[in-house]
Structures are given as structure tokens and as C-alpha cells.
């Protein structure tokens, strides 16, 4: 068959149905409904199957993207799933929440003249199918006697746990909250990532033999050092996330009605505050809400506020839409839902109604000046542009700092911002202790957190002298006829056997 070119492929992206904006702005059901079969097949046709694809190196975990898309177009969905799970633990999740436009889709040559291939949506489609069909890729596991402790059940912890369990270790995840999942649970709302999807991925972890202990605050209940010395863990991975929300330090921040996006989202997503009083946790959201910041957290806070009953919801950002760090899809969805954006605007003071509640924000208009270190143009206040803006709730979504608990309770080395110091192999200053995810990199993304979790697992295996993950996929000659770990050997051909030389994440 002749190679496809941009001219021969379907020109338009296959459509993915979404809930109508006017409707979804009032419910917590998922917004993007996913491809149906026809559209998925149509979209898979749009991939040029580049021999030297740009997208693979642009993916933080180097998913074999043309490989899995080709399998979809061949209608070999299970094999597409096998290819995905070679690199990613959480396809149904990453397909939904990755910033594809900055990664794989951003470099796809199709995108030069048309919309790039909808890689994320295809990934999600396969991930969802796997959940529906109950597919699981559990390699034959040879148990060894190593015990691994994982601190934090976010994507970094989950990924490290999965790889160590596949390598045969006895793995326990400790989570401070009463439910596992990290930001995927308490941060990202259900209309973007339904709980069932996260639950299914956690079930997969359990099927690998990983134990998850909630209600365990590591550092305070026992320290990292105690995990090694007293609890008998051979190696420990720390993936405690960034947490610790920032405030701006302007006047009026202690007024009632000022809260962090983390607090708003935790109350709603984890504690059920939108169903108060059936759930005991109140929300106390006002009618006019201003969210400060324009990242993913801000988008979630905006859209949750709208769904929780706020009448008018504003996003204030000191730069412009172009600089907004949120996923483009989230921005578009927020705009469609009727969120109002005040670009080039920064608050300078929060004003009191006389009863210590928020009455208004005093804001300032900004303009963009010279680029700063990050390459983004620096916002500069416009003289004399101050004005009052009436709101009753102010939500801060301007970033987070390192969670301090592990640092407070362990001798582990931290950098000057309080994040855990880790080398290129994610080893920390304590032998046998590795760290990854937001607590090392600062607030980043799900896929990067997952990537660091996997990389830490590789280092851990080297440290413990265990052969690498890729090798557990290797079929040993004598495993021929017998059933291994309840897996029918015929079915085992579904476990793709491929020992790659490429680093899983760099």
C-alpha cells in the first residue's frame, strides 16, 4: 500500500460528542463522551504511521503511538491496549488529562496543515474499552522477597508500585487520605475524570498484588527512616505530591470567602460537599466567584464552582489566553460553559463587607512586557488602572509549594524550595529511598509523575539487583503449556513481548 500523505487521509478530525454546554454546566457527569467505534476507526485512519514519528519522543513515556493507532485501524484493539500498557500504566486517565497539544499532538506533522491526529482521544478510547472488557496485562510474576514501601497514592506512587509488583516485590502503598488516587481523586473533578475510571485503574494495581493502606500519614505515624529500619522495607518511594497551596500575601486573604482551589476541590471531589447536607462537609460557595490563576487547577475550580451553583464565575489571570498554562480543551470547555475570563488582570487587595466576608476585589490591569526567564512575557501593571470588582468568593489557584511533612520528619535532603532532592536516577540522599512526581519536580503533570515513578522503579531494581521490567515480559522457554498465575498461556500472547532499548522516560 502506498504511504499515506496528509492529502489522502480524512481531513477533519473525527467528532467526539460532548455534553451540551448549557446542560453540563449544571452537572458533574463527564463532559467529553469519548469516541464511538466508527469515529475511532476514522480517526485512526488519519495517522500517517510515520517511520520516524515525532510524536513518540515527544511523549514523556514514549508510547509507541503509530504502533497502537495502527492496531486500532486493523481492529486489533486488544493489541493496541498491549502496546499502550508497555509504556503507560493509566491509558484511560492519560488519554483524558494529558496536555497532548504540548506533547505528542503538538509535533504531529498532520497538525501543520490540519488538526493533528487526536492521539489522546484514541488512547482514551482504548483505555475505556479495556476497562469495559476487563482487560488486564498481568505478566507472570516471579515473587522475590523484597518489600517495597510507597508513600502517596498519586500517579507517581501508582506507577512505581505497579512496576515493582510486576518485578515480583511485595508492595504496600501508604496514603494519608481515606481514599487513594492523589490529585486524580481529590483534585481533578469527575466531569473530567470519572471516579469509575480511577477505581478501575486502582483495581488493576490490586490485581498485581499491591496493597493500599489509606489513613496513613507517613512521617508522623512512622518516618521514612523507620520504614527501612523497623518496618522491614528494602526500598521506599516517596510520591507525596506538591500540595501546600500558595497565597499571594495581599490584604484581605484571611476574610471568609477566600480559599485555595485545593480546598474547594477537595471539599467537592473527595468530601461530597456538593451533596451537603447529605454529606457532612459544607462548601459555603457564594454567588459571584473569582478564581485567580489560569492553569488546570484554576479551570477545575472555575467549572466546579459553576456546577456547585455559583451564578457568575470569573477567571482572573495576569497574562493572556496565549500564556495560560491550562490544557486548551479545558479552556475551551470553560469558555463554552459561560465562564468569563478577565485576562491581563491581577488582584491587589480583597475588600471586606464589614463582617469579615469578601465584598469585592480591587484589581489592576496588566500589560505584557519583556520575556522573563521562563520565556513568557512578563506582566507589568498599568498605572492608574485599579478598579473594584464585586465578588463574594475568591479562589486562589496560583500554584503550590512542596508538602513539608516528610522534610519535617526525616533527614532526607531537600532543595532550597523544600522539594526532595533527587539525582538523575531519582535516588535521594538516603540509600534505598527514591522520590518522584510533584514532590521532586514541583507541580507538573500526571504523565510526568507517572514517568518518574517508573524511572524510580528502574533505579530501585538496579539497587536491589532485580532484572528489569522489560524482562518479565520475556517468555521463558519452559513456560510453554502450563497455566501461570491463572493466565491461560494462549492468552499470554496478548502480553506483547518486546524488550526495548529505549529509556522509558527521560
Amino acid at each position: 500500500m502506498a504511504r499515506k500523505t496528509v492529502r489522502t487521509i480524512p481531513q477533519d478530525r473525527a467528532t467526539m460528542p460532548t455534553q451540551a454546554p448549557a446542560v453540563r454546566a449544571h452537572n458533574f457527569d463527564e463532559v467529553a463522551l469519548g469516541f464511538d467505534l466508527d469515529n475511532a476507526l476514522l480517526e485512526s485512519e488519519r495517522c500517517l504511521l510515520c517511520p520516524n514519528p515525532n510524536c513518540v519522543p515527544a511523549c514523556p513515556v514514549n508510547i509507541d503511538i503509530p504502533g497502537f493507532i495502527e492496531k486500532i485501524s486493523e481492529k486489533k484493539y486488544r493489541e493496541a491496549y498491549d502496546i499502550l500498557t508497555e509504556s503507560t500504566l493509566l491509558p484511560a486517565i492519560c488519554g483524558r488529562v494529558c496536555p497532548q497539544e504540548d506533547q505528542c499532538e503538538g509535533v504531529c506533522p498532520v497538525g501543520e496543515s490540519l488538526e493533528p491526529v487526536a492521539i489522546g482521544r484514541l488512547e482514551r478510547w482504548i483505555g475505556d474499552m479495556a476497562i469495559k472488557e476487563g482487560w488486564r496485562n498481568i505478566p507472570p510474576i516471579q515473587a522475590n522477597s523484597f518489600r517495597i514501601g510507597i508513600v502517596g497514592s498519586g500517579p507517581a506512587g501508582m506507577a512505581c508500585a505497579a512496576d515493582m509488583a510486576k518485578a515480583g516485590c511485595d508492595v504496600t502503598i501508604y496514603e494519608a487520605f481515606h481514599q487513594a488516587g492523589g490529585v486524580l481523586r481529590y483534585g481533578i473533578p469527575e466531569f473530567r475524570l470519572p471516579n469509575e475510571v480511577l477505581d478501575a485503574e486502582l483495581e488493576n494495581l490490586k490485581a498485581l498484588g499491591v496493597k493500599i493502606e489509606c489513613n496513613t500519614l507517613v512521617g508522623r505515624l512512622f518516618t521514612i527512616e523507620q520504614m527501612l529500619d523497623e518496618l522491614g522495607f528494602d526500598a521506599v518511594f516517596i510520591g507525596t505530591g506538591a500540595g501546600y497551596p500558595s497565597f499571594m500575601g495581599i490584604d484581605g486573604e484571611s476574610l471568609n470567602g477566600v480559599l485555595s482551589a485545593n480546598e474547594l476541590l477537595t471539599r467537592c471531589n473527595l468530601m461530597g460537599a456538593t451533596s451537603f447536607p447529605r454529606y457532612d462537609t459544607p462548601l459555603g460557595l457564594g454567588k459571584r466567584v473569582a478564581v485567580i490563576g489560569s492553569g488546570n487547577t484554576a479551570m477545575d475550580a472555575l467549572r466546579v464552582s459553576l456546577r456547585a451553583g455559583a451564578e457568575e464565575v470569573y477567571c482572573l489571570y495576569r497574562r493572556t489566553r496565549e500564556e495560560s498554562p491550562a490544557r486548551v480543551e479545558e479552556l475551551e470547555h470553560a469558555e463554552e460553559e459561560g465562564i468569563r475570563f478577565e485576562w491581563l488582570t491581577a488582584p491587589v487587595e480583597i475588600l471586606d463587607d464589614g463582617n469579615k466576608n469578601v465584598r469585592a476585589l480591587r484589581c489592576q490591569r496588566m500589560e505584557l512586557g519583556e520575556p522573563d526567564d521562563s520565556g513568557r512575557r512578563r506582566p507589568i501593571p498599568v498605572a492608574g488602572s485599579e478598579y473594584e470588582f464585586e465578588v463574594d468568593t475568591v479562589v486562589y489557584a496560583i500554584g503550590t509549594n512542596a508538602n513539608p511533612i516528610i522534610g519535617q520528619t526525616s533527614k532526607i535532603a531537600l532543595n532550597k524550595w523544600g522539594y526532595i532532592e533527587a539525582d538523575d536516577n531519582l535516588a535521594t540522599s538516603i540509600a534505598g529511598v527514591y522520590a518522584g512526581g510533584d514532590i521532586v519536580t514541583g507541580a507538573a503533570t500526571v504523565i510526568l509523575a507517572m514517568g518518574t515513578g517508573r524511572k524510580a522503579a528502574r533505579s530501585m531494581k538496579t539497587y536491589l539487583g532485580i532484572r528489569d521490567t522489560a524482562s518479565v515480559y520475556e517468555e521463558t522457554p519452559d513456560s510453554g503449556g502450563d497455566e501461570i498465575f491463572g493466565i491461560n498461556p494462549a492468552e499470554r500472547s496478548h502480553v506483547r513481548i518486546r524488550v526495548t532499548g529505549t529509556e522509558l522516560c527521560q
Partner: protein, 358 residues
Amino acid sequence: MEDTRYLFRRNRTWWVKVSVPKALRDELGYDLRCSLHTESLDEARKARDVAVPEFRRRIREARASLQQTRACKEPAMADDESGFLILRREDFSDVTFLLEVEAPLLARAAEPGQFVIVILHEFGERIPLTIADFDRDKGTVTLVIQAVGKSSCEMQQRCRVGTHLHALVGPMGFPSELHADKVVCVGGGLGVAPIYPQLRAFKESGAYVIGVVGFRNKELIFWQDKFEQYCDELIICTDDGSAGIEGRVTLGLQAALDRHADIDHVIAIGPPIMMKACAETTRPYGVETIVSMNPIMVDGTGMCGGCRVTVGGEIKFACVDGPEFDAHKVDFDELMNRLGRYRGDEKAALDNWKKAAS
């Protein structure tokens, strides 16, 4: 005639509205409405045809969920596998009660000054409680609770020996600093029980310990024997004078300060108004004074910032930077104001619950 069913105009924009059946108005409000973000009637009609079925679906769901809540009124408490077993309960008064909970690791780790977070049942909120006692040998921690809001009243009603708390996590916060030669430990209201482990630890560290504890009246005094065991002097204060000094704990504190010029440390735990008064009592003496802050919390792990307090002009998160701070630097007025953040919701929840329970 033009078809404008369910539609109305606000300024020039079309809105859609469906009225809610009476029985569901508590939950959904008088009607369901939203802006269609258009001034064109044609577009509005199209959007309406999507929105109305959706509103109907929400009304159906609300009705179903209301019926379900009526059917299973009580949210379930945890079972043996995931829950935390209550081994002992003691009632000190009609509002104050004690729970001793099995938690061996927690008992081993707990230090005076720390707190835990408890969730009563599957729909419960996260409630911070100062650890009132711990027994490393028995593997238990003790919590003393005052039934004031919905959750604590429900705990009072449902926490029986043999039942399980849905969640118990901790110990949280920094332990107390126990360096003092002569110390006054002041406990009032819900702070009486939490002052006990501090006072015991100070005694065990070799300090001279003066305890000051306040109750409403003689009948409500508890743990007097426990306090006496670890105090060199114990000053009891009652509001009505039926035992000890008549008046607030600050009078007891004042008496101790006047009697001993060499007091080098004071710690006060109780309602903010009491802690503030203690701070003002010791300020002229320049004695180092520590208070245990009890703001509204969610996670207790530094993640939400809901517990922020201002100390010496700086924002601190009480759960990870505290809970103990220098009393002379704390902004108590802000604390009291922020504690009132959910007053309306809390009252509604309590009334609602009382109505359902009766």
C-alpha cells in the same frame, strides 16, 4: 403564536426555566434555570430542547435520591476490616464524652500536642481532635469530644463500644516542646482533656507543674484524680464557684503567676476566646505562652490551606506548621472570625439532622 415554552428573557438573553415540585425544593430550589447565552429565539429553542430533558432528569434523580435517603436514613459506619474499633466510652456530662479507640501504630507514635482526624461514617466530614491520651502498651488513643455541631452530636449518638470509626489518621502536627522548669498548663472547655498529656509529659520531664482547669460547675469535673497525679499544684475553676475558684481559668492562671515569680512556660488549650484571655494575662509578665490552634481543617496534611492562621503577621497552616504557636503573636480575632465561616451551614445541618433523628 411563538413557541416560548420554558423560555424567558433577562435583559436580551434567553433563559430556560423548569419549576421544581414542592417536595424537592429544599434540595433543588424553586426552579431550575440557566442562561442559554443567546439573543436569538431560534437558537434558544434548540438549546431549550436539550436543557429541558436534562432538567427533568435532574428532578427525577433528586426524587429518587430523596426516596433512597428516606429508605436508609443512617449513613453506614465502618466494619471491622476497614474501621477503627471503639473499645471504651465514658460520658462526663450530657455534652462531653470520651472514646478510647484501638490504633496501635498511632498510640506508638503519638506525642503530647498532636491531633488526629476522624471520620464518623461514609458521608462524614474530617473532624480534627486533639489527642487527649494515648496508651502505648494497650495500643489505644483517647479522644474527648464535646457534642456541639452535627457531626459531634451524631458521634455522641452513634459511637458505642464495639462500633467502628470510618477513619482515624494521625498523629498530626508538631509535638509540644517540653522544655520548662516551672510550667502552668491551662485547660478550659474542650481543652481540658488535651491538656492532660502535656501536663503528664512536663511532669515526667522533671518540671514543676501547675495545672489550671476550668469547668462550668462541680458536677462536670472529670479526671481530677488523673490531673492530681501529675500536678504539683492543681487549680480548679468553676463558673459558678461550686468547686475551686469561682470564675474563669484566667483567674487561676493569674493566681499561679502571682504566687510563683519563676514560671517560665505557660500552655493554654481551649476555646479561642479563652486562649486569647490567657495570652493577655501572661503578656505583662513576659512569660513564654503557647496555645494550640483549632481552626477549621479539611485534610490536616497541609494540602488545602483552610486551616491558615496569622502568627506574627505571617500565614501559617495550623495542621503542619502547628498546631502550637506563640500566644503573644497569634491573631485570635481572625481565628474566631474564620471559625464562623460555616456557621449557617453548620446550624442548618444540625437542625436537619435533629429533625431526621426525632
